[in-house]
Assembly symmetry: C2
Homo-oligomer: 80 residues x 2
């Protein structure tokens, strides 16, 4: 089962990449209100049960993918 992990910098954290994108868009008259840049990880987990796959993805994310001090994450089941 494919699980997507969306990782974003916390709101309190200065997101330098997001600021850079905001600046570039402003300079090209394509301003947005906010832009945050993080990581997207797709895990193919050998598990057919959705809740078990999500539990394993959560464990892996906390173990090795995200930094709890400065980031938050969200999981999703990727169908397709």
């Amino acid at each position: 089962m494919k699980i997507g992990v969306k990782i974003l910098p916390k709101n309190e954290v200065l997101d330098t990449q997001g600021r850079a994108v905001e600046g570039t868009l402003r300079a090209h008259n394509r301003s947005v209100e906010q832009c945050r840049v993080g990581k997207y990880v797709q895990l193919e987990i050998p598990e057919t049960d959705e809740s078990k796959a999500l539990a394993r993805a959560k464990e892996i994310t906390e173990f090795v993918l995200y930094n709890p001090l400065i980031e938050t994450f969200e999981l999703e089941v990727v169908r397709r």
Copy 2:
């Protein structure tokens, strides 16, 4: 309206970060079948119409966020 952009390296492209995560998980008895690491960008777009917001996000992504030679992307409306 908040739009999420999920960017992943194409399957044909060597994904060094993904391989590194796979190796680490294997070494800790938490093997997964595959891991791909990409970028996640959240854009806050000043637009209330969903299809207009998605169209602007697509334009921005193609303009500045992703590299069509080595990456693919997918858009999503973030509700919340």
